[in-house]
Symmetry: C2
Subunit: 208 residues, 2 copies
DNA sequence: TGGTCTCTCAGCCTTTTGGCTGATACCGCC
DNA sequence: GGCGGTATCAGCCAAAAGGCTGAGAGACCA
């Protein structure tokens, strides 16, 4: 069995260091490169052609993890991407899977889970932490609760504290339309006021 | 020079592992114990009497970091507590310092910063990441922007999406009083609507 | 003792928001 | 060609939120 080469992408040195120490205990896994941003990750993939990329989603300013995953796929690389992040927000999960992630792990995952995910990824197997999987199932079971792209866009702006009027101006639609979208969003999120929608969005949807 | 003993408290194994690897490179620093919750931390301090406790603030369910720091101080322990966390929210910083933290580091801190903070802590020196320090200075310069305890309490409930009426019921005050507090909060946060206040609170004040 | 801060409350008025109903248009799909 | 989903818009009404002014009580401090 050949060694699996891994690229670590996380803006926190401590996390990279910990992941490297953990993966280093496995004889069949080797960390061949590290990156602290999406840009660096792209360059590192070019240079090292790793089998697996383990990537955080939140990486400070610049390209975020999702964008980096998408860019990697555009370049027709064959390496598998594993998302390794702190939050299991619905929006992030969907977006990451959509962008082409092979797996989705939470940072409190057990070492065995991480090892299994890395090994699975090179074989084309999807691995995700139980909480992540259950969220995905929930979405599949309740498709009524999935926001449309336009609604998600609106919700995202909503979390910046804009009024209906401002939302309309920003999206080039009338205030009436804004209100219609909001009504749908409230229904899907199970809330009744914009305040609760914002709270839910930022916490549950991870729209920070 | 004797070796500095350290207790690591973080609910993420990866972070503990990384921190341990990093600190392990320093001959005068030794990680003698780890804990993944506030409860465990308290027990570990009893058992190992470390010189320094490096603690994350967010630790899933149960006792959070702030509470753990407070409990440690109540027990008259002499170890220094260093906060090591991802976010530099105003509220967390103030609360941590208030609870008795000796330093406040962000997880993207350079290794040298971390080492210096650990060494400084045992000598009674406060060390904090530059972004954290600047936030504290900002608060000292603009005391007008500091929320009163009652306002902070209200803001916290606000981020749960409650209406004015509900806020009043929850706090046993009239709706009029709620509105007064809100007006003050808006002024201090520099916003004009509750939506913006919630967004600001969750993002800047770290009220998740 | 007087000043300042904080917390509490009230009334009045305007703006914003949310609930409801109904409507048009485009798109993809069976 | 119709049907469901999405996106757009309008009008009406009630409820909620926000701006403004003023004010009393208690705490704390100089």
């Amino acid at each position: 069995m050949s060694v699996i080469t891994v690229l670590l992408v996380d803006d926190h040195l401590v996390v990279r260091s910990g992941l490297k120490a953990l993966l280093g205990t496995q004889p069949d896994i080797e960390v061949v490169a590290e990156a602290s941003s999406g840009e660096e990750a792209l360059a590192a993939v070019e240079g090292h052609a790793p089998d697996v990329v383990v990537m955080d989603l939140a990486m400070g300013p610049g390209m975020d993890g999702i964008e980096a995953i998408r860019k990697l796929r555009e370049r027709n690389r064959r390496q598998a991407v594993l998302v390794f992040t702190t939050y299991d927000s619905d929006a992030d999960i969907v977006r990451a899977v959509d962008a082409g992630a092979m797996g989705y792990l939470l940072k409190d995952a057990a070492p065995e889970e991480i090892f299994a995910a890395v090994r699975g990824a090179v074989q084309g197997k999807s691995v995700m932490s139980p909480p992540v999987a259950s969220r995905l199932f929930q979405q599949l079971r309740n498709p009524d609760e999935v926001l449309t792209p336009r609604e998600a866009e609106l919700l995202s702006l909503l979390t910046e504290g804009l009024s209906n009027r401002e939302l309309g101006q920003r999206l080039f639609i009338s205030e009436a339309t804004v209100k219609t979208h909001l009504a749908h969003i409230y229904a899907k999120l199970g809330v009744e006021t914009r305040a609760a929608a914002i709270a839910t969005a930022i916490r549950r949807e991870g729209m920070r």
